[in-house]
Symmetry: C2
Subunit: 173 residues, 2 copies
Amino acid sequence: MNFNMKEAIEILERTPLMLEHFLPGLSNGWLQCNEGEGTWNATEVVEHLIEGEKNNWIPRLKFILQEGESKPFPAFDRFSHLNRQSDRPIEHTIKEFKTIRTENITKIKRIIENDKLLESTGFHPAFGVVKVRELLSTWVVHDLTHLAQIVRVMSKRYGRDVGPWAEYLGILK
Amino acid sequence: MNFNMKEAIEILERTPLMLEHFLPGLSNGWLQCNEGEGTWNATEVVEHLIEGEKNNWIPRLKFILQEGESKPFPAFDRFSHLNRQSDRPIEHTIKEFKTIRTENITKIKRIIENDKLLESTGFHPAFGVVKVRELLSTWVVHDLTHLAQIVRVMSKRYGRDVGPWAEYLGILK
């Protein structure tokens, strides 16, 4: 096992910075491309990250610490952000994400007063018993997943443009 | 086909910025992890990107425009950076990449005076006839591939830590 709080927070605090230095100023061709029907463009991914900050990570953490395994925590709707029609510039979306992420990092530092709390268990509606350390590890990997998704989606936009080089570019497959 | 010079440069100029706001300050656990023997950590990926700036993209572009299909361009050693033992801090490695990338973007803008040049053809040692637009598209996708690689490698570091959530995290598979 590799999780520790300090290193996890290193990633969590960098995700908004990466987005902030990558997405703003890109042409709509990059910002609006996706991998086909039912898949997300970069803006939708950031909206999904915001939803997670509001309704997933910290609420679930609190729920586990409060309820333990006594009752399953509420399911998180991974698609709810798609109901929100948002035409705001990507800068604003990222700024909202950055603000709430910064607040949540402050909260998590306050909540996890000692490493023993990482072993606390709760009841996931689908998986059964889970630990706080698993939830927090998932938060980190979830960030990395969606960063990888954003660049993968963009790479596929040039899937045919690269011609025969596609053979060397695993990301296109 | 989606390639155009302006949008391609948007990505090329952002890659060093993303790296610069992500990697410096990370613990060694993140910077040194890889996907097992023969795979690259984040530092090695950035070294590989530097090699490409020096010996791949611009040299090949010039070669195509000078030689056309008359002779194959020299093969690029995709592993040569691994021969270089480098203990410098990641900040320095990224700075070198950023400097040479900035220079190369200036060069490419000077070289590609008009869109007709994008259709120029050269002879790839393995693929045969290739176009300048394919080379430049590949440069962009190559950046995105390696950004995705860096975050994928890190996500796998927590592959076991996430517990049952691994099921929802495609990046770990």
